[in-house]
């Protein structure tokens, strides 16, 4: 079985790897992911997802309850975390050593994650000094597949008057990332919430001496650490 798993994991295709990663990202905790969520995230049709899900569950990478959703098995979760580690380390490497900015790394990593060897990933990690987060503040799983997702609060949910530090920026679209950067927002930056509108979750923040109004979507993209968070 362990040999089987090893052999199988050598030969996961790009599609399979992206499915597993998508399912993991839709529910890191293991709650079932729905066909349409997966289809939407991967930009595929729902029937394509149903078909692939059937195959992956036959291979023991996930469990599928028809009409109910899918959950990764331990083996599927391990494979997914391996891809997440690759993706985030590649992003970090590209930013550190090849002059990429945080808005352009995702696309490159999305392809490279399937092509690099384990050896190369670990050499990149070493060259980087074994970082624990990627350029967007997302935690990098360890080689043995553990990951620490620190508690976070969406900027939209931070009480008025509080000062928080941006931990993670949950966004991969380049234009949006550029806009966020243009406001001076990035992991590690401290932000004070000055005001909140009664509707639409609009919050006014102060960052680096400037004030900005942040809408609901952006407010959920920006994940912050409050003093009480651990």
């Amino acid at each position: 079985m362990s040999v089987n798993a090893a052999i199988a994991s050598e030969s996961l295709t790009r599609s399979v790897e992206d499915y597993l990663k998508a399912i993991y990202q839709l529910s890191p905790e293991g709650r079932p992911a729905s066909t349409s969520e997966i289809a939407h995230l991967l930009a595929l049709s729902p029937p394509s997802v149903t078909g692939m899900v059937k195959r992956l569950s036959e291979h023991g990478l996930l469990e599928h309850v028809p009409y109910r959703g899918v959950q990764l098995t331990d083996e599927g979760r391990r494979a997914a975390l391996r891809m997440v580690r690759r993706h985030r380390l590649i992003e970090a490497y590209l930013v550190e050593f090849l002059g990429y900015s945080w808005d352009t790394v995702h696309e490159e990593a999305e392809r490279l994650e399937h092509a690099v060897s384990d050896t190369m990933v670990e050499r990149m990690a070493t060259a980087l000094g074994n970082p624990v987060v990627d350029p967007h503040g997302d935690p990098i799983p360890t080689v043995d597949g553990s990951i620490h997702e620190p508690a976070c609060t969406a900027l939209s949910d931070v009480p008025v008057g509080e000062t928080v530090e941006i931990h993670r920026v949950h966004e991969s679209q380049p234009e949006r990332l550029r806009y966020i950067a243009s406001l001076g927002l990035r992991p590690g930056v401290r932000v004070r919430v000055l005001d909140r509108q009664p509707f639409d979750d609009l919050v006014t923040i102060e960052v680096g001496g400037d004030q900005h109004v942040i809408g609901r979507e952006l407010g959920h993209v920006l994940q912050c650490a409050r003093e009480g968070d651990q």
Copy 2:
């Protein structure tokens, strides 16, 4: 047509890219390559090659005369040289920045060449200072698709008594490359031919104070620059 070519070149698959590169490497000068040569190089069956060749010639990447062989079109040659550039720059980058040795880079580059973006390739080239040869001494095509293949003489063909410099090592198998390195042979090293047997192309050489006997196969892998070569 130019738009067409651009669109088409975006979407070449890994298989197609490897076919084009293989055909180029079987005859850089454009002499027809045979089905079985291609099949052997790519470790595929001849019927698979026939099928792919048919498709590629429909796409204008090569010309096929049934039972006679295939030749790259200008577009096919351009795509092939693009892959050769990628492959060799990746090899150089891995050796320079990620601690690879020349016997392990080929396999990694064989996958990465299909996954990196043009941007990344050029950033690697810049980081390397725009090298003109790869770790095996093979020339790196320029971005605009020109390549200078310097005149070379196989070590087997070097006259007795002559001293030559190793230019290129035409080998990709790791064990063989390690053996070659263990003899102190690599691009840039000077070698003196001391003796030649009457049969089997065995030559005795002196390199770095040591003497070695080189057989026919290795003698053809080691490509040298003679004084007269340009």
